[in-house]
């Protein structure tokens, strides 16, 4: 299957690019680990560990992925791939799979440090559920990040635009522990956005060692936002600078 061969090679290409991107190491690994050490105060709760784990994964899935796309668009790299026979779906699949692998790798490292240093970690039964949430959530925000590139005119403006649509949401959703809660209106709104369901699902797995799969409601929210991201990307994605 030549398309499978091309896809595999493209995942490898994007993986190499990501692991050599300083932004990915900082936002996906160093930032959550640093905050864990600073905020943990020796006894980090499951909510904080879950929040920082999700923060790292989503930084890679959204910020690093989308900023990289904008840079590639501006430098003509996207145009060059568009001129090649690699189908657009294979380009995006390769990039998103590589992004998910790096994001989940960073998240697993954060969880491992929390488990070893603070004894906060999922039970063996909960590991699968955490991984499913992280993979689905990362792919979801990568789709949204791809869509967001349409609103970013230049590489220079990528960081402010992407940060503005990312940090308020992840911080309000409880990335540093202490979510807005589910009783008030803001909490209800956050529950329908993609970040809080992720943090909730990971928190539950850390606290209770819940079953192999996260709640269907959380996965439904993530899948719905992934669909929104894909549809907007299909309509608005640009391969060349405007």
């Amino acid at each position: 299957m030549p398309e499978v061969r091309a896809l595999r090679a493209h995942v490898h290409y994007q993986l190499l690019l990501l692991v050599r991107t300083p932004r990915a190491a900082f936002a996906g690994l160093l930032l959550p680990l640093g905050l864990l050490l600073l905020r943990g105060d020796g006894h980090p709760g499951a909510g904080l560990v879950a929040g920082l784990t999700v923060l790292g994964a989503l930084s890679t899935g959204y910020l690093t992925h989308a900023a990289g796309l904008v840079t590639a668009r501006e430098s003509g790299v996207l145009r060059r791939w568009r001129a090649s026979p690699l189908p657009p779906w294979a380009f995006f699949a390769g990039r998103m799979v590589a992004t998910a692998l790096v994001a989940v790798g960073g998240a697993v490292a954060t969880l491992a440090v929390a488990a070893v240093a603070y004894h906060v970690g999922p039970s063996p039964a909960g590991v699968v559920g955490v991984l499913v949430v992280l993979v689905v959530g990362t792919l979801c925000v990568a789709a949204l990040g791809t869509a967001a590139t349409a609103a970013v005119p230049t590489a220079e403006s990528a960081q402010p635009v992407l940060s503005l649509t990312f940090y308020p949401l992840v911080l309000l959703s409880g990335a540093l522990g202490g979510a807005a809660g589910g009783s008030d209106r803001l909490g209800q709104v956050l529950g329908l956005l993609p970040v809080e369901p992720m943090i909730d699902a990971v928190t539950r797995a850390l606290q209770h060692g819940t079953g192999a799969l996260p709640p269907a409601g959380d996965l439904t929210v993530l899948a719905a936002w992934a669909a929104v991201g894909l549809i907007v990307s299909l309509v608005s994605f640009r391969w060349q600078p405007s």
Partner: protein, 310 residues
């Protein structure tokens, strides 16, 4: 076999006409140079031929397909070297070549491409550590790696040193010998003279000429008398000849070579000007180009003042 056909091809951006009813055909194995000043429509034409944008009018077919609707199977038969280097700087030369090779159904071996672009020793070097000329050669390698039947070269040798340019020319000649049709946009007229079977001259979005380099020279401009002219001698020139001074050289496009030459020789004998640099010959492609485009392209003006750069 016809590789490309453009029929009254037009492209407008709002009220700006970038390309105005341009028609031509290019056969397999032909190399056609597209010349024109900045803004004449060269890159717009390449964008249309490579399928990056849809025409506003007319039709274009490349390898029998509408480029704008060309799918992966069509793109596998096309090669592109864009106007500006477009590479991921954190990857090595071999990593980039391998990734692109995997996208094509029958790519050239990566080792062969590295040899063609003379970067075998830099295969493991990150692209960010290469010189500008070396990066340009990676661009060329990516254009060649799929064994294209049609190759678009958008100013491929800009910024290369003379040796590297000749290496690129040799690559391109090998491709045309293997029946690849090549569309080359360039500001270097010596490049067009060296490589092109035909030259399309664009001016203001219109096709000003479509002919071989020799035909262009013969029809577009008159024979030329050239004489290096030191400032002291230039001051002595009669007013009728002074208007033909171009930098430190008298460049006289002559409708009557015999009469003009006799006048010049007579003046030189009287003033004692050295005639050892005197040249009489057909017009250069550059002169024909300037006549056709109706003005002096700034890039060419610079290049004409730097003959060693040619």
């Amino acid at each position: 076999m016809t590789a490309l056909v453009a029929d009254r091809l037009a492209k407008r951006y709002g009220s700006t006409v970038a390309l105005d009813e341009v028609s031509f055909r290019i056969g397999a194995g032909q190399l056609v140079a597209v010349l024109g000043p900045n803004g004449s429509g060269k890159t717009t034409l390449v964008d249309l031929l490579a399928g990056f944008s849809a025409p506003s009018g007319g039709t274009v077919r490349v390898l029998g397909a509408d480029p704008h609707r060309g799918g992966p199977a069509w793109r596998a038969r096309i090669g592109l070297v864009p106007q500006e280097t477009s590479l991921d700087l954190r990857l090595t030369v071999a990593e980039v070549l391998r990734a692109f090779a995997a996208a094509y159904p029958r790519p050239l071996p990566v080792g062969e491409v590295l040899a063609l672009i003379d970067l075998a020793a830099e295969a493991g070097t990150r692209i960010g550590a290469l010189s500008g000329g070396q990066r340009r050669r990676v661009d060329l390698g990516l254009g060649l790696i799929g064994r294209p039947e049609v190759l678009f070269l958008d100013e491929p040798t800009t910024g290369l040193d003379p040796r590297a340019r000749r290496r690129v020319w040799a690559c391109v000649r090998d491709l045309t010998a293997a029946d690849t049709a090549v569309v080359l946009t360039t500001h270097y007229l010596d490049e067009a003279q060296q490589l092109a079977d035909r030259v399309l001259v664009l001016a203001g979005g219109r096709l000003a000429a479509d002919a071989s380099p020799d035909e262009l020279r013969a029809h577009a401009a008159a024979p030329t008398i050239r004489l290096p002219m030191p400032p002291v001698a230039a001051a002595e020139l009669p007013a009728a000849l002074k208007v033909h001074l171009d930098g430190g050289e008298l460049v006289l496009r002559s409708a009557d070579v015999g009469a003009d030459l006799a006048g010049l020789l007579d003046w030189a004998r009287r003033t004692g000007v050295d005639l050892s640099g005197l040249q009489v010959g057909p017009p250069s492609l550059e002169e024909a180009y300037l006549v056709l485009t109706g003005h002096v392209d700034p890039v060419q003006r610079e290049r004409r003042r730097e003959p060693s750069h040619a």
